[in-house]
Symmetry: C2
Subunit: 603 residues, 2 copies
């Protein structure tokens, strides 16, 4: 069975040493309670919960899956008890507002914990995971009464939430939804329709489930301008706020999926269910994006968690498994063969996982600071800047970390050789679980359009400039630092090229809008690699300072520098291909007619 | 359920128009029967068998898996009947020698058919698939008596074969095997030990199973120089050559795997089983490589088949699924949204699958001609040249087509969005099935070492030169062809760079052997992309000629040119990253100590 330990030392490096979280929390109005000691204690306790409670249920949950019987869904054995422990421990409310029962700690802390949950048991993590987005939508767009009714329950974890968007014929294109909401006498609505792919849509972990549902009013305009958001509880709360009458929403069936078997992915039937409008009529899409952005970063963290889990286990295997001698001569002469970690290509795979997981952690915790500031920053200009950067980085966090998360978990399988394909070892589960992260909450293609089309080009590149300026400043500040030259020089070049590529796509797109879609995924991956290069260069700088100041853990800091070097030499060159493909433009994509694609096999 | 049609038109293009198979067969002594009509009829019939018999069992086989009961393994429902039909139709013996009951057709024809089998049902295809390698080993290294006893049965498909190499503690490093072979009075051996990952090790499709087993003699030298090869039948043949007494070999358990559920992957226990030595004592590794090379190309073909199957189904979905409007304006104004094939990024994914599948087919059929010549070529120099090229291309076919096959099947999932993750659609099965191809018969890392270390550098680059010279000649011959310039110019540059990169690694490797392993996988991928570029450039030339000569199917040939253009503009630039990573050398891989890898999470 795979093992997992929360990467506490690395988190301390990222949070305390590199990104100055103590200073960051000190500047936040809700940061008082987040003293270094408290943060350390929470992270350690969270790591223990992940390892001791969630990890042992990960493989069994995958094997058992969920069971639908008589309309009730049973999560795999142990999931319910673990959830009770989670609620009991106060974990769901950690970073929620005190006025709704939360502990008021910064959101970033919850994000650091989220990585541990995803790493130890992704399928389980998705039961509480969706509640955050639902709570956020209610907090921002719900009426006082709705907040009073649902928010505390969601925050405490007594109830869980869902996002009911997708229908059989539409996922990306929500303007096509058919679910209807008809007003009734009592200022409520009757909701009818079918939603699919509803994660944690029905289960036995919590006493009630709060569905947030997109539907159309009878007089709604066509397309995405005619979508409204409703709250539809599984049990209608009674006068005391407790689960009362059963509502007309039920699970029609469970999907059979490639992975995350332990999570109930439901077809949800709304048969005249009672629902309540959230926010203004026909403005549901905006409300939904409140949930969606939270969820997207959450999915990026899933990618990160799976990278780390896979890395830790392939590392253990590579140290243990004896096979062949090093090409340069035996390294463990007393054993029948050398441990495979001596082989450069095995190291390449391990370092790929390590550089991506540690770099991904920097990206997530960098983004988490932006989330904190957008939520609680006291300076308006700082808040606006954080909003801008968060908008830019959200699709990168989501798509880059899940694309690379899939790659990293596959490297984990590859390190195991044939054993990686065998379920017992658990490495292939990471791959199957990771596969969904490239798809849900908007595929990589959709994230790429959001990044290049909406965020970068619609702002005439201004959004991007906020970030490239920051990188430029860093490069300038370190220009005379001889030891960092190997990082700062290529970073500065890439940073300039990023702007040029953006301009060149922007020019082409003015002639032909399709050029945006033609460049978008390569652009997103390029952006991801440059972003991580910036963070790895900073990490190398932090490590340099620590070593210079005579910090005791010199091996740790040297490993950081080595990993940065690996990233720059053996991963960052991928930008060369992406840059060339972006420059190639879309002509070669658009030439063929839809019919001609199949001429090789269609008779 | 996924559909599949054999790509007969494309095969005709590759075989008849591009690679002059009619001329190739006319030059082969065993090519007389392979007239264009016969070839076309066989391919068509094979495509029908794949589609009508194998395809309907692919998803059900995945769901059911195999069953071990009382030592007997039951393949999924329908597999046995399909195999009987396969034997009845004479398919197993198609390209086997007439003296052993074969039909004597060239091996290349069997390889073209093999793609169809892998595309329609990989798990089923592995029951007969392993027999080829076993037969080849017996043909080349068996005694007359062994050939008489086993070969005809294997060729006819009445019995199937296995390759029993891997043991729990060793796969790549076969020098470590523990299985023992003790001579007995009657010139036989008693085989004892445990083998794992034995594909089709036990099943109910054939009346007997012929295991080819690596084991060590009592006085064997240490390591890989002390390995011998044995034939160990499940039932010992009686005096009439029919299955007689049950031998002491049995299936201990079935592996639970990520994919190819329909194939029985067995732990095989040899408890004093009777075995017979093949070839000289302690020379088993050489005999095994006879099987292995056949099997490696076979696995490359598996990658190809899965690409094609995934491509066909994602194409159908992309034409059918309506979602969003094209950025440049509605393309299907009469429908609620445009089919997703209008979107450039969806086209990028489809064209990636298409360019890799069609390019992969060119590579396989190019390699297949080399196989034909090595087996039956009448000119010694030509045969030697074919041997050399085949040695060079085998690891590329194996590793490049499986790495890219995994990517292509994942693109297929991605085109389906969330539906791609749902088992019912069948797209995720292609991914799970494809995952093993990167691992078995030597991982990608092992293939890469074989290519760069054994094939290229051990020959001082001479092996590579045979191929780059051919590419160079092509480029020179086409130098004045203005229409091909967009392909020939970059190809010529890459071809020269390939030599330079090889030289630079070779120089570094003289200082430090680890540089080979540090560069190997990037080198293999680089080599694969250049090889496919050569073939795509040739294909573009063939299409150009056909269009110039006024061939009627102009849409087909233009689509070929468009796909070539896509390959050069949107896939080939990946070589930029690989070249840079090769040049970066191994220092960044070797710096960290095995202990320091885990400092971020180990306490």
């Amino acid at each position: 069975m795979p093992d997992y330990q929360a990467p506490l030392r690395d988190l301390r490096f990222v949070m305390d040493e590199m990104l100055d979280y103590p200073g960051h929390y000190a500047r936040l109005p809700n940061g008082d309670d987040a003293s270094p000691d408290v943060v350390a204690a929470i992270l350690e306790e969270g790591g223990r919960f992940a390892r001791e409670v969630l990890l042992p249920l990960n493989q069994s949950g995958d094997r058992e899956g969920c069971l639908l019987e008589g309309g009730e869904v049973k999560a795999p054995r142990g999931f319910k008890a673990a959830y009770a422990q989670y609620v009991e421990g106060g974990w769901p409310s950690l970073s929620a507002e005190p006025e709704h029962g939360g502990q008021g700690l910064p959101a970033s802390l919850g994000m650091a914990l989220s990585e541990m949950i995803c790493a130890s048991n992704l399928a389980w993590g998705m039961y509480p995971g969706l509640s955050h987005g639902a709570a956020d939508a209610l907090r921002h767009h719900g009426s006082d009464e709705q907040r009073a009714t649902y928010l505390t329950k969601l925050v405490e974890g007594v109830w869980t939430g869902t996002m009911c968007l997708t229908e059989p014929h539409c996922g990306t294109d929500l303007g096509l939804i058919k679910t209807r909401a008809v007003p009734t006498d009592d200022s409520a609505y009757t909701i009818s329709g079918t939603k699919i792919f509803i994660s944690a849509g029905e289960h036995d972990l919590a006493e009630n489930i709060v569905h947030l549902v997109l539907a159309k009013l009878p007089d709604a305009p066509e397309g995405s301008r005619g979508i409204s958001l409703f709250v539809v509880p599984k049990y209608l709360p009674d006068v005391d706020g407790n689960p009362g009458e059963r509502n007309g929403v039920s699970c029609g069936s469970l999907e059979h999926k490639m992975g995350i078997h332990g999570n109930a992915t439901c077809v949800m039937n709304f048969d005249g269910a009672k629902g309540f409008l959230i926010g203004p009529p026909n403005k549901g899409l905006a409300c939904m994006f409140t949930m969606m952005n939270v969820a997207r970063i959450g999915v990026g963290i899933q990618g990160l968690g799976l990278m780390e889990a896979s890395f830790q286990n392939s590392l253990a295997y590579a140290r243990d498994r004896l096979q062949m001698r090093a090409l340069s001569g035996p390294k463990a002469a007393d054993k029948p063969a050398d441990p495979i970690i001596v082989h450069p290509d095995v190291r390449r795979m391990l370092l790929t996982q390590k550089a991506l997981a540690e770099g991904g952690r920097m990206l997530v915790m960098y983004t988490a600071q932006l989330v904190d500031v957008t939520e609680h920053g006291e300076d308006a200009a700082e808040r606006e800047r954080a909003e801008t950067l968060l908008g830019l980085l959200t699709p990168i966090v989501k798509a880059f970390l899940t694309e690379l998360g899939f790659e990293a978990t596959n490297e984990g399988v590859q390190v195991f050789g044939g054993h990686g394909f065998i379920q017992e070892w658990g490495m292939e589960q990471f791959v199957r679980d990771a596969r969904i992260t490239r798809l849900y909450e908007g595929t990589t293609g959709i994230q790429a359009l959001d990044l290049l089309g909406r965020k970068v080009l619609m702002s005439q590149g201004e959004t991007l400039k906020v970030f490239t300026k920051e990188i430029h400043k860093f490069c300038q500040a370190q220009a005379d630092n001889a030891e960092l030259k190997e990082f700062v020089e290529p970073l500065a070049k890439l940073n300039a090229e990023w702007g040029e590529l953006t301009m060149s796509v922007g020019m082409k797109a003015m002639e032909d809008r399709e050029e945006v879609g033609a460049a978008s995924v390569d652009y997103l991956l390029y952006s991801g690699y440059v972003t991580l290069a910036y963070l790895w260069a900073r990490a190398a700088g932090t490590a340099q300072q620590a070593l210079a100041s005579g910090e005791s853990e010199s091996a740790f800091y040297r490993a950081k520098q080595d990993t940065a070097r690996f990233y720059f030499q053996r991963l960052l060159p991928r930008t060369r291909g992406h840059a060339q493909m972006i420059r190639a433009g879309g002509a070669s994509l658009m030439a063929m007619s839809a019919e001609d694609f199949g001429l090789g096999f269609e008779i």
